[in-house]
């Protein structure tokens, strides 16, 4: 019964979407999608699924959104036997908590330096977008297919509701097709703006408050750490969306970049204070070792250079990130002989695979 039900669900989700002939892309629609959340109020049930470490995580979220108040999401995980979580986004901060234990976290909202329109301009440069009309949940939508112009980037498909501009479904697949993120509204009800005004954040929560990161100039960072964080040679098309952020009680630096669709986050820590992430595999590059850890669509790489430990998290293939490490500079491993032996071994293994 179960496999049939699963197939039926896929058929139904497919039945809900009826494609038509392709049309010229509309960046107007993309811009509407980018700002729809500031204009439209709604409540919805949303299915979210991601593959993290080859294990699927699926949840059903009850979403309540009001531009005048914020967004409240209640997640009911369907995989892994986890407890429910509530996430509350308001203008100045976000809460995440377990509604039964009343415990969780609060962190301040990031302020991006870059407008959605600017990021969409980057997207147009880095991706090609085609659009076709379709239907979803009984509503008229446009299905936008976003394909990268360069290797190692993900491909995305979004269904934008023509009437409200909201994204009703989105899907993102890694370059090698192995990793996938998926989210879709299963039910959708528009609401009047202000409908959540009487909604209050519960008063009895025990939240650990995360401090606001401080922005810092390169000069300030150099004086704090005694050395300048090395410039990381990013892939084509990425531009910063935040300033340098001094975080974790001033012990690390972080900065976010975007190519219009995906986000890349770099963090720098003084080498003495950092160690390679557990559960990662080490890859020996000509310059030295790089540690790689996959998490679904996202890859994390870590390496050391010029007295710093650098971590990159991005929705890019490991090859692209390893190339970033190569271009930036990698510190050789301590024991040159061990490194040479490992490197030879890995080269031989690669050759025999080819």
């Amino acid at each position: 019964m179960r496999p049939l039900a699963a197939a039926a669900l896929l058929v139904c989700l497919g039945l809900l979407v009826r494609p038509a002939a392709a049309q010229a892309p509309s960046f107007d629609l993309l811009l509407r999608a980018a700002v729809a959340h500031d204009r439209v109020a709604y409540s919805a049930e949303q299915l979210v699924a991601t593959w993290e470490g080859q294990q699927p995580h699926v949840a059903l979220a009850h979403v309540q959104h009001d531009p005048a108040v914020g967004t409240r999401l209640v997640y009911r995980p369907l995989s892994g036997g986890q407890d429910r979580q509530v996430v509350w986004h308001t203008a100045d901060r976000t809460l995440e908590y377990d509604p039964h234990t009343r415990r969780g976290r609060a962190y301040p909202a990031y302020r991006l330096q870059v407008s959605p329109a600017q990021q969409l301009a980057w997207l147009a440069r880095n991706y090609s977008v085609t659009s076709a009309p379709s239907h979803l949940l009984g509503r008229q939508t446009a299905r936008l297919r976003i394909v990268p112009r360069q290797p190692g980037r993900p491909t995305a498909t979004v269904h934008v509701d023509v009437h409200t501009g909201l994204i009703l479904r989105s899907e993102r697949t890694s370059a090698d097709g192995a990793a996938r993120q998926f989210s879709s509204f299963v039910t959708f009800t528009p609401r009047p703006v202000g409908w959540m005004r009487s909604r209050k954040v519960p008063a009895d929560l025990q939240l650990r408050s995360e401090p606001t990161p401080r922005t810092a100039t390169l000069q300030h960072l150099t004086s704090v750490f005694g050395q300048r964080p090395p410039a990381v040679q990013l892939p084509d098309g990425f531009s910063p969306v935040t300033a340098f952020l001094l975080e974790d009680r001033g012990t690390m630096v972080r900065r976010a970049y975007s190519d219009g669709l995906t986000t890349l986050v770099v963090s720098w820590r003084p080498q003495a204070a950092a160690s390679p992430p557990a559960g990662s595999r080490v890859v020996y590059r000509p310059g030295g070792p790089v540690w790689v850890r996959s998490s679904g669509l996202r890859q994390l790489v870590y390496w050391q250079y010029a007295g710093w430990a650098i971590t990159l998290v991005a929705e890019l293939s490991p090859d692209v990130l390893l190339a970033v490490a190569d271009r930036t500079g990698i510190q050789p491993a301590p024991s040159t002989l061990d490194f040479l032996l490992e490197w030879l071994r890995s080269r031989l293994a690669t050759d025999s695979d080819a």
Binding site: A5, L9, C12, H62, R102
Partner: protein, 193 residues
């Protein structure tokens, strides 16, 4: 939409008739489910989530429901079980032991007219007092004293003997009597005079 419901139905998610019947029963009894959930959880958001979850559980188990029997009692039992599962995972103990009838919880009625007090501001103090009861005692008091169920019906919802209902009810009431002492006294004075 019909195609979708039909496709799901034919694959064992329930016949169309079963779905329609389930919807009808949910619509008929959702208010009593909400009231019970509200008194158990003490806040509207959690109560709504609990009712939603109980609807999902009930649908999964709907083939075991015998048509013609009381759906509301059956659904309340599922709701109570969901609630118990949640509170088992609760790491923070928030109840006052029933034997500790200290003064913290006492709520005094300071107005002259207990009837007005009854109508206007009773919900808050009573709910706070209920919140302090351990869940199994709270459930009994809610079902019998707020929802008006008989001992037998409450016993069916809570899956325990009617004798247990009576003893839990009694102990729960004694605790509430202390915490709501001001109101109880005001009422008795009204009765007597």
């Amino acid at each position: 939409m019909e195609a979708e419901a039909g496709a799901l139905a034919s694959q064992g998610a329930g016949t169309e008739d079963a779905q329609a019947e389930f919807s009808r029963l949910v619509e008929a009894h959702w208010r009593s489910a909400y009231r019970f959930a509200y008194r158990l959880t003490g806040n509207p958001e959690e109560a709504a989530d609990l009712v939603q979850e109980a609807a999902e559980e009930a649908f999964r188990a709907f083939s075991r429901f015998r048509p013609g029997t009381r759906f509301d009692r059956w659904w309340l039992r599922i709701l109570y079980n969901s609630f118990v599962d949640r509170t088992r995972r609760q790491r923070r103990q928030s109840y006052v032991p029933l034997d500790d009838l200290s003064g913290d919880m006492r709520v005094t009625a300071s107005w002259a007219d207990p009837e007005a007090a009854l109508e206007q501001q009773l919900d808050g103090p009573v709910q706070r007092a209920l919140d302090a009861l351990p869940p199994e005692f709270r459930a009994v008091v809610v079902l019998v004293d707020l929802e008006g169920l008989s001992y037998e019906d409450a016993a069916r919802v809570l899956r325990c003997p009617p004798g247990t209902v009576r003893s839990r009810l009694h102990r729960g009431r004694l605790a509430l009597r202390e915490w709501l002492r001001g109101y109880v006294d005001a009422l008795r004075r009204g009765e007597l005079g």
